[in-house]
Assembly symmetry: C2
Homo-oligomer: 458 residues x 2
Amino acid sequence: MTKRPIPYKIYLSEDEMPRQWYNVRADMPEKHPPMLNPVTKKPATKEELEQVFCKAVAEQELNDTDRYIPIPDDIIAFYKMYRPSPMVRAYCLEKALGTPAEIYYKFEGNNTSGSHKLNSAAAQAYYAKQEGLTSLTTETGAGQWGTALSMACAFYGLNLTVYMVKVSAEQKPHRREVMRTYGAKVIPSPSDTTETGRKILAAHPGTGGSLGCAISEAVEVALKTPNCRYGLGSVLDHVALHQSVIGMESKMALDKYGVKPDIIIGCAGGGSNLAGLIAPFMGEKLRGENDYRFIAVEPASCPSLTRGSYMYDFGDTGHITPLMKMYTLGSEFMPSPNHAGGLRYHGMSAILSKLYDDKYLEAVSVEQTSVFEAAEQFARTEGILPAPESSHAIRVAIDEALKCKDTGEKKVILFGLTGTGYFDLTAYKKYNDGEMSDYIPTDEEIAASLQGLQQLQP
Amino acid sequence: MTKRPIPYKIYLSEDEMPRQWYNVRADMPEKHPPMLNPVTKKPATKEELEQVFCKAVAEQELNDTDRYIPIPDDIIAFYKMYRPSPMVRAYCLEKALGTPAEIYYKFEGNNTSGSHKLNSAAAQAYYAKQEGLTSLTTETGAGQWGTALSMACAFYGLNLTVYMVKVSAEQKPHRREVMRTYGAKVIPSPSDTTETGRKILAAHPGTGGSLGCAISEAVEVALKTPNCRYGLGSVLDHVALHQSVIGMESKMALDKYGVKPDIIIGCAGGGSNLAGLIAPFMGEKLRGENDYRFIAVEPASCPSLTRGSYMYDFGDTGHITPLMKMYTLGSEFMPSPNHAGGLRYHGMSAILSKLYDDKYLEAVSVEQTSVFEAAEQFARTEGILPAPESSHAIRVAIDEALKCKDTGEKKVILFGLTGTGYFDLTAYKKYNDGEMSDYIPTDEEIAASLQGLQQLQP
């Protein structure tokens, strides 16, 4: 096969868009342990999940056997508003680094939600509409998921209430305004609109909130409201499934030019973007067809894979979700307030946790000043202002490319550029003003927040 | 020719990207009157322009004979970072409106500057670098041009000082931060760093500044600094030339699918985006090869085409630029502070002014609450949060599509979606909170700011 010159951006045509999501669990030699009902410690049933989630979503959440799941035509039509997303060859960054490595990134930020989150939001809102629901609730931290679900709900004509982590709502009033423009009701969390919120406010009056707490509030409201369900933007298996569209497009785009990545890198908070990006490549590795290095990059201030424990834990602070076996820092863990951006979740996708535990996936943690250095270099050379979350992946991609410079190796590096940083300029200002610092939790802090997990194990 | 199904987004391949800019002036049966030196009232010479601008730019500014001007390879490489930009078929908006019209938009917002401004910034920074300059100065209002030139200067390794209209710098601290991330020095204008600035501050101590004033400051600094020139983001003919890439790509994309627009709509502040979008279509009209309706949309609060006079006027408030014959509200005109977004320039591109005066181009003005209504509808259906400026074009595109609904006509409407509104959420908040109002200047106000223009005429 003659290698054609590779353009700056590889776009698939709309006809080439994937028509199926890829379910990596079908190819996992060992499945991850099931979600458990926290009271009975028995596997959560479809019926239990359907109280919180749409039926289709509950079904997908439990499906670990079907390798491919068709994407409904309506969702394909929604995807066409902003997909296929470009696969970019980072020619300018390569040149600036002077590396022999080839660097590619799949850019998911070219939509108003500013990130990949829309891939699952579109699906969740569609199913809710199909099932005759009238509203959804959710939570949002950095704001990308809330914006994405607002967009999808506006499109399908559903009401949406978003519990937004209070500190984030205060730091990012503009994020809130985008959601309002899409018709969503945005409530800073903890709030006095829920029992969980009132309890947390009573115990910690000045708290800035957390994702775990906002999840509790949103779930509580979904359970109490007729024709309403809850939508989650990360962590769960059905979200990873929807995000597999990223990886499928990526693989198709690279295959077109005969490019095989050696290293695939993604940032990991709850894990949905990384799980989606690596999905079909991981499938090949699991089936023994091809080998790749996969690297999950997490913030040193919230290091669930690199410093957490692989145990059953709640998904939320209020302890109303099922238990998941995952790498966790404990549901009480709160990242330092100096931490910028998302990736502040205490746990990690059960799929990624299992793959990591089984050594299919590596993980590294990076400190935020070095992340913003990479972000600045990337912005100046590639012309895109990256989200702080995505910049974790950029940091490690640059590091790997610089290793190639030392060794002369021409590795092919692919990373996920999950989103843009237009709503993160408070953090950029801190960096520009030289006022950004790093924080690494002590072993004692982590041990403290892991306390009590033992009693949750089955 | 069988009509192929039209995708949601038409992307050209990088190979198909235009290799030349189209200079509409070459096809104008009557050229617009030349820029004049305000002292001698004689046509500005290349030598005079070269004191302020790069040589290549000064040459392009005066070139009204060459129909095509080659785009240097280096600029093509820069363009590939974010171009070709998509031509989008607004299927979802059409459906929401229930119109038989076909609506297309050329989307220029998929880059970090958030607008089409990068097309000229790339060229101006490239020429500056080529000519051995070390720095540029410029002004910015809404912030898109300043961001664009910051990005281009970072790429080519030039220093940049941006005079940012003070009220805008205060309302949009995040815009400022993006520019800083790209290494630019941002100074709120009027400032005490220039004579003009000090004079204006003395006369109007509490002023929020204006674009005309920021231009004066930036030009003054460029004139005084060695190896430094000034870059302007709109109004001038070389900017319109660079922006012709928008129209060339648009025409090529539509031609691919055998689509001929009936109406082409763009917002108009200084006029660069509109001039660029319509360029090749206008060329056909001027040469008698094809007919199109062209509509310039301006804010009712700053209505230079619809309520200004076609006269010689200064380009800036400080009166240090050459005189241009253009539709103007007078260089002293200040749009009401309730006006959101850009499009607040007192004058209009000399090319567009002449085409309008010669009836090749129509103009309408629209009020901002109706503009934000259109913006919201567009955001919810097409999934892109538009810039307030671009939303002027959306307003009129929707109006024309609704007329088609009444008449049953299947017109083809093309409009320019120049940018995204991620940095305009203060204005969106006003709209969401029901606190946005309209302001239309009185005839007396306009007459007052036009006073004194008579003496500038040659």
